[in-house]
Symmetry: C2
Subunit: 333 residues, 2 copies
């Protein structure tokens, strides 16, 4: 089942979307918003599923799903906790600045608390007041949980995943060094993120969803050219169950919590940093990694961060070649 939210109010208006993303039907008679549905998931999901089956069968009135006009499926959330599960990415970034990576990073996940009060829609421009802030995309996988009890173990945590999607976790690289040096983590350097037009239930992902990971090629394009084609199921050191368990170590997580994977990143086949797609590699899911690899090879970064008018596209296709989540397509404004 695929769910989205048409723009409207602070929480959008819940729609069930067809598997091919062409059609949708309002679910407001069942539940007004996705957040409300998640809070009563056991009761609401079967009813949404009935609607989804009717939509696929063509037995109810349907509308075109205009993915230009949608908000993120959760236009805002009570929690957005973003991990950094592709430790390869972290190791690369540290290598570029000659910083040793603690061995603990391979068994203790990194995670930061993100702002969740107002997300961007998947086609909304990225508001950037100053190009010197170093605007970057971070293409990631996300999951949404129901209520998770404190202290849950990583394996049991997987059963609390009710939806899967994509995000562009916009980052302002120019503000990160000073902010991290202060020791309190990201704040100004992480403005509003955007999410894919639809979130999808794990069962609808078939064999692509297994072991608490999403196994598929994450397509990242910059200004129409392929930038990244990494497989999100590979080199993910911590699966989503592990990330949820980490987040829930000292507190409960409330229904509607969004957990992010961190920037998807694959090693090159030779074990080294990934190569650009033009050189036969799998490319990169953020510009910081491009610049990191350039620094390792050339001694300095060559690729600039995003500037006004630059366009990023993030999507993933299923085995049938069709888009699963719809595309995040944003320009810098």
């Amino acid at each position: 089942m695929k769910l989205g939210s048409l723009k409207g109010g602070r929480d959008g208006r819940l729609v069930v979307v067809s598997d091919d993303l062409v059609w949708c039907v309002s679910a407001e008679t069942i539940c007004p918003t996705l957040q409300a549905a998640i809070e009563n998931w056991e009761l609401i999901e079967p009813r949404l599923l009935d609607l989804s089956l009717a939509l696929e069968a063509g037995t109810i009135e349907r509308s075109r799903f205009d993915d230009q006009a949608v908000s993120s499926p959760l236009p805002r959330a009570y929690q957005w906790a973003d991990g950094s599960a592709y430790v390869n990415h972290v190791a690369l970034v540290r290598q570029a600045r000659s910083a040793a990576m603690p061995e603990s990073f391979w068994h203790d996940p990194l995670m930061y608390q993100g702002g969740s009060d107002a997300f961007l829609g998947p086609r909304d421009p990225i508001p950037l007041a100053d190009e010197c802030w170093g605007c970057d995309m971070e293409a990631e996988i996300v999951v949404v949980t129901n209520d998770v009890p404190m202290g849950i173990d990583p394996y049991a945590a997987r059963d609390h995943i009710i939806l899967v999607g994509l995000t562009n976790d916009v980052s302002l690289r120019g503000l990160i060094p000073d902010e991290l040096a202060k020791g309190f983590g990201f704040f100004q350097s992480k403005p509003a993120s955007a999410f894919s037009p639809v979130f999808v239930t794990p069962d609808a992902l078939g064999p692509m969803w297994r072991d608490g990971k999403l196994h598929g090629i994450l397509e990242v394009d910059l200004n129409g050219a392929p930038l990244g084609r990494a497989n999100a199921g590979i080199d993910m050191t911590f699966d989503f169950g592990r990330l949820i368990s980490h987040a829930a170590k000292t507190r409960n997580l409330a229904a509607g919590t969004i957990i992010g994977s961190g920037t998807v990143s694959n090693r090159d086949v030779d074990g080294g940093p990934g190569k650009p797609i033009a050189q036969g590699g799998l490319g990169y899911s953020c510009l910081a990694e491009v610049r990191t690899v350039e620094t390792i090879i050339h001694g300095r970064p060559l690729t600039p961060f995003m500037r006004s008018g630059d366009r990023v596209r993030i999507a993933m296709n299923g085995p049938d070649g069709r888009s699963i989540f719809g595309a995040i397509e944003q320009s810098v404004a």
Copy 2:
């Protein structure tokens, strides 16, 4: 005007509370929840104010306000951003571990993104799975904002403050060093916070609310003995307008955003670290500061962190000696 939320559902049930905190009246016919009221504040506030006036005049049916049975006024929020505006506190903590404090800390606020998906109520126990985590209270002032545009200046930001309250920002000191060393800020070390039984509009605070600060003695008691009596209006390096402006540098803040002051802390009259109340000082608003001062004086901390059964009380009285916000009273469970 004073507002609270009776326990009920994930967002509580909005009540208007009398100035003396003895009576309340349901506001659900006007607006079901405080979050919903904040989102339509210009429309809803005048109607709540009418109800408040009728409550004070005794012209409507009223109930006893049972502050044992309330949730935090916002039982959950879309954003909880906590500053560290009493730089004196930061300087002390760093002094105790012989870490130089960057000069920039005096003009660039520290702020972290806190978890906001499920707050504790003001009388809820603090769930602590392991005493080794070093459970500490942090007594702070908070404000709630309406919608704040990105890039707002500190002075204009003050006009976006619609409610004022207190918090116990529970901290797990034993988990902080490792977490901060990872560079991504607090996560596991900041479990759910609790807030005062009521939030109060700035105008109802009279002269205690001025210059974007709350001028009053923050009473912090541990197991019935006075621990802290610092004045929240003194030594606050960054007023709430400045903190809001900091938070809004790269993004809008949505209505219902809670901004915290960080642990309230006053220097001693001689300019040095604060003395215990038993020695005629103003005491401390968290145990970390007690232990810091002990380390400076005795070479090591003497006071333990909170253990099972320990009780913390946080409150503030007005010039008439009556409690303004009600008391946060929590035991470690």
